[in-house]
Amino acid sequence: MRHRFLKENTIENAFKAICFLSILLPLVLIVVLIGDAVIDGWSRLSLDFLTGFPSRKPELAGFLPALVGSFYLMLLTSAIAIPLGLGAAIYLEEYAKPGFLTSLIEINISNLAGVPSIIYGLLGLELFVRMSHMGRSLLAGACTLALLLLPMVIMVSRESLRVVPNSLREAGFALGADQWQTIWKIILPMSIPGALTGIILSVARAIGETAPLITIGALTYVAFLPDSIHSAFTAMPIQIFNWISRPQTAFQTNAAAGIVVLLFLMLFFNALAIWLRARLQRKVYW
């Protein structure tokens, strides 16, 4: 009897160890992935790399147009996606009555979240680049990315609106405020910290998006900085992809250096989101 119990215990511990290794393996792989990029790209990481323009000579090639392009792209995408997403979230949480239209919008949003990003690229190519005559511009890229982000922005905004208790809405109405005043003065300020974290995380994810931008035809070799929203552009992941796909190994080093910069920025945005949430979350007791 005792013998059987011990044997069962050994099997259970072995199973537990296997499960633990299954968690450990992916975590180790993250470290290997980051370490691999840092080791490969270390020799190219310098101020010259960050402020230089692309070049046919790998040791002279820089990352500046990609950095600036990604920065503008991020600003424009946020300017489009955040108001639209917040607006849709406010509509669905505060105004919409249950019914056909509301459930249509809701089902749509959850389905859109599952559409592959490259399909958004095809939409952007036809709708913005060709039909709206935006060309392969920053604006076309930002519109495409904004549509891609929209479901995520709507979902995180709705969640942050939902946690505001109804008693606050009723208090607003009791003081004579109309619905919009209540939303604008009470509900939005309360829910912004929560929404902001999620929004920053979705925008950070957009900087890493490559496929839709390639599909709409963002350039892979750009030796200038964009000067308006109608200007052609490149972005960090596209420049990295361009360097990866070249046969010379020296360009692979550039790609690795670019990856380190991109990873660092992603990390920065994640940290920013966490910091902002901690800072903006006022101690409210309801």
């Binding site: 299954s22 095809l122 190519l125 796909s245």
Partner: protein
């Protein structure tokens, strides 16, 4: 007035769906004016950019299925075991630390995964698998598995967590040990949730682009040998987009026909997964 404006914001998502479907249908319609269904579904060669044109979509579908299968083969066992550990064995602090760390995997830009698959995973695998080509479905698929692992781990954990404690206590009361409880009670009861997680992960794998563009090669190849270079549906769209293809040409229309196929695949999988999850919410385990 304000309400109308906000309503418009909500409708943008509906318009986006209409736009996607409309554009895909319109361009695919144009495509099938030039290419017959028989050429599209009855051929296993895909060479629309050559002079000897073939439009057999199966060459791209096989590449897509192959990389996704490798990815699921990697992510499902690891993700499920990770979920079991998190919900059945881990301490609360360990969960709080590890869950966000796993989420990091889902947030890494896929172009970085592509670099990793090409410059690390493939050379690493070549040590064990002689004859593995420099671009192959295996390395790309395994790295893609890393990317979708958090989906499976986190959604399966939710499903396992939702199993009522009374069921587990019942099993223990009948004298079952922990392993028997996990395998005979917990996993069968959370089967729908785990299936839904797996289907969502497959859908993500099918739509994944940059990893396969970079590491799996660009050769449409009706083959199920993971050591070879292949091309997926997504990779073909990128290949054409990198060149300058004028509107209205057949090459331009092919990417929408391929996009339509891809869209239908992922839509069906997503609808199926949502159906499974709705069943769980209603209380049918």
């Amino acid at each position: 007035m304000i309400k109308a404006l906000l309503f418009f914001c909500g409708m943008v998502s509906v318009l986006t769906t209409l736009g996607i479907v409309g554009i895909l249908v319109f361009e695919t319609w144009g495509f099938f004016q030039h290419v017959s269904f028989k050429q599209f579904f009855g051929d296993t060669q895909w060479t629309p950019l050559f002079t000897n044109q073939h439009f057999g979509i199966w060459a791209l579908v096989s590449g897509t299925v192959l990389t996704s299968a490798v990815a699921i083969g990697t992510a499902l066992p690891l993700g499920l075991l990770a979920a079991i550990y998190l919900s059945e064995f881990a301490t609360k602090n360990f969960r709080l630390f590890v869950k966000p760390a796993l989420e990091v995997l889902a947030g890494i830009p896929t172009v970085i995964y592509g670099y990793f698959a090409l410059t690390f995973m493939t050379p690493f695998l070549q040590n064990f698998i002689p004859g593995l080509s420099g671009f192959n479905a295996l390395g790309a698929g395994i790295v893609m598995g890393m990317m979708i692992l958090p989906i499976i781990a986190s959604l399966s954990e939710d499903a396992i967590y939702a199993v009522p404690p009374s069921l587990k206590e019942g099993a223990y009361a009948l004298g079952a040990n922990k392993l028997a409880t996990i395998f005979k009670v917990v996993l069968p009861s959370s089967f729908s949730g785990i299936a839904a997680a797996t289907i969502l992960a497959i859908s993500r794998a099918i739509g994944e682009t940059m990893i396969v563009v970079i590491a799996a090669g660009q050769q449409p190849n009706f083959s199920f040998d993971p050591r070879e270079a292949i091309q997926t549906m997504t990779a073909y769209i990128v290949q054409v987009s990198l060149g300058d293809t004028p509107t209205g040409t057949l090459a331009y229309q092919t990417i929408f026909a391929v996009g339509m196929t891809l869209f239908l695949f992922t839509l069906l999988l997503n609808l199926f997964a949502h159906h499974l999850r709705r069943r769980i919410l209603k209380g049918h385990l």
